[in-house]
Symmetry: C2
Subunit: 457 residues, 2 copies
Amino acid sequence: MAHLLSASCPLAVSLTSSSKNSVKPFGLNQTFFNPQPLSNHPSLKALHFQEKKPKRRRRSCVFLATATSQQAPPETSTNNNTSPSKPKRVMVIGGDGYCGWATALHLSKKNYQVAVVDNLVRRLFDHQLGLESLTPIASIHDRISRWKALTGKTIELYVGDICDFEFLADSFNSFEPDSVVHFGEQRSAPYSMIDRSRAVFTQHNNVIGTLNVLFAIKEFREECHLVKLGTMGEYGTPNIDIEEGYITITHNGRTDTLPYPKQASSFYHLSKGVVYGVKTDETEMHEELRNRLDYDAVFGTALNRFCVQAAVGHPLTVYGKGGQTRGYLDIRDTVQCVELAIANPAKAGEFRVFNQFTEQFSVNELASLVTKAGLKLGLDVTKMTVPNPRVEAEEHYYNAKHTKLMELGLEPHYLSESLLDSLLNFAVQFKDRVDKKQIMPSVSWKKIGVKTKSMNP
Amino acid sequence: MAHLLSASCPLAVSLTSSSKNSVKPFGLNQTFFNPQPLSNHPSLKALHFQEKKPKRRRRSCVFLATATSQQAPPETSTNNNTSPSKPKRVMVIGGDGYCGWATALHLSKKNYQVAVVDNLVRRLFDHQLGLESLTPIASIHDRISRWKALTGKTIELYVGDICDFEFLADSFNSFEPDSVVHFGEQRSAPYSMIDRSRAVFTQHNNVIGTLNVLFAIKEFREECHLVKLGTMGEYGTPNIDIEEGYITITHNGRTDTLPYPKQASSFYHLSKGVVYGVKTDETEMHEELRNRLDYDAVFGTALNRFCVQAAVGHPLTVYGKGGQTRGYLDIRDTVQCVELAIANPAKAGEFRVFNQFTEQFSVNELASLVTKAGLKLGLDVTKMTVPNPRVEAEEHYYNAKHTKLMELGLEPHYLSESLLDSLLNFAVQFKDRVDKKQIMPSVSWKKIGVKTKSMNP
């Protein structure tokens, strides 16, 4: 479960007139891409891949019918020259990742003009930690080419690090986004707890990256709407209801509405649970569009991990007492939520917070659901208790509000038997790819230290 | 006003046995110190200055009488070989700064064994922004030498950046602190709002620096007590009372005690006001021990600025309506508060938050007090309204609690006529050093951008 922040720039500043694009566009078939996403070599910093440079001045050839709809913008015709509208241009930062890729495809399908900005460092983490997605995933280049071949739609690709402001500024000035969806944060709590250097990386990447995005919007695209994925993990497990962003407090006879109090418990305070599932309408269109599915103990989310464990006959790994309750949502709802936020942007100066989940489950409840669904498919599902590697309450009150996205029109995909069947069958399909060594938790909140952790298998 | 965080490491981890000191001690009279505090050249990173390397194994030659005192540890005799105690070793990070230097001297006077860790970047800021302390201040080397000559007491000096973990680790392993006082944050809200690079510097320096301190404590000095200066600015100006760190909330019939909600309003959310005054018993001993006094619009705090303005006949610069109310404390109480926290450390695993101030004033109230005191000294004091460069409420409720340090034994120096007289006379003494161009606000919260700000006078 995540929370979703949505803001438009509140400050009146003049836009700079110098939007000269210093990013060099390269054809996708050219081969001089150097696969070192963190390199600081200037010539590698700002690679910009796209199949065909769009002609930005011919905006009238594509239209967006109306911005007054509370729902997604209607399907558009790319050949309609009569409309004065233009498609909204959405930059998806972290668009090669689990939520980002599904979102980029979904928005492209809905006729938004989409650019993916990503340093591909998530793929590097897999190499470094010896992990691999359950699903084989195509390169971002092949993914985008396949999408173009299937749909005729172009997704622009900017490869670089948003902590490098020169790269980010060039990407902004080249793509000129109307909305930015920011998935480009290191989002694994266990990753942030491996060692000091990864804790520092997480803070640096997430704090400085987001600062840079805010500055780029203010400087180059003042009216741009920012949709940022945060984490409800920062709220911890308070004994009172979790509101959406703000809470009205009466104290000593006075009242104010203040930001909801935060209680982080890891260096990336993400309470896992979060998003589950793997398929969306778009990723299903071709195997090269397939999304990643992490089942390992560092990046895998709870329900996804349980389904893969069930598929390979590994006992479901319940951490501690299993009473840890969080909000969950289907990845099809993730992409829907982001689109709803984009289609219904915050007013100028407004900052909105949505608690982005549809249902609450405890770990034990998830294990029971997976067990039941697995047995129906003939799988022998057991569960085991694993000493909790985290520092967290294992039995607690949890009641988080989540009405604001419903009010925007979210139609939830609740966790159903058919979804569990589908996810289990998907896991069974790829079960030969499972590395069982990655299943048990390897990162302990209490053992984090300054020594670089050995990555020996 | 600041808040003061105090914590001891809650996690049981084994200390590393390798505390080999790779920091090379240099004599103060040697001349190969390179004055580039931010250099990344390895040979410049970890300069360690001290007059005489203390013999760490001869601890019994110095004693600390008892740790049960609620007050400061009693004066000790450095020649008493009969005591089994040893002085507490306190590392003051940022010990060359306004609060840090006064604290380092105060603790050394009280027979703590003190080390100053500082990259001296605050002095670099003065060069870069064209600012200068009202008071001429000696180099940190001369300050420490003078202190030794006057008192016989050694303050060790480690020059380097705590964001460089190798330097910090070496400093920890060399000095072996029992307590760390962390003043090493960029603490000016206007500085953080100058431009993107300084906003990023502020976040990087403050977040990564503090992370590194936490990791160093956990890895090398697990029982070390951390006293960190934060900011009450992060609480903003809520319409309800500000508690110390935590607030008990009853919501929808349930109750929990949660961290106090935060509402930052600058990239370093420090509400100026904060500490005032310049003299402490120790800094008064010699002109080379004199503390800095910032009167400029970037680093100067409200009351100090007003006194300097009064001294040079500049109207007092009230930002906006002047109803901005904050907590204030005398620098003599700053050093007292830090010492009280060190002398009464948090229990293992405990995290304490103290709201560190003694009185609340609005800007208008401060202006009136300075006007009245100035007239008594024959100064012609006027005030002027300046368009507020900040984004902040100019009329608001403000009531922050501050009982916990009183309970530890703080004996406040309340703002008095005699203090104002003293501060005004001090400002008059140095009025020829005032650069009037630095008085008016130069940094606007709304105009921050990515372009490096021109520093032309």
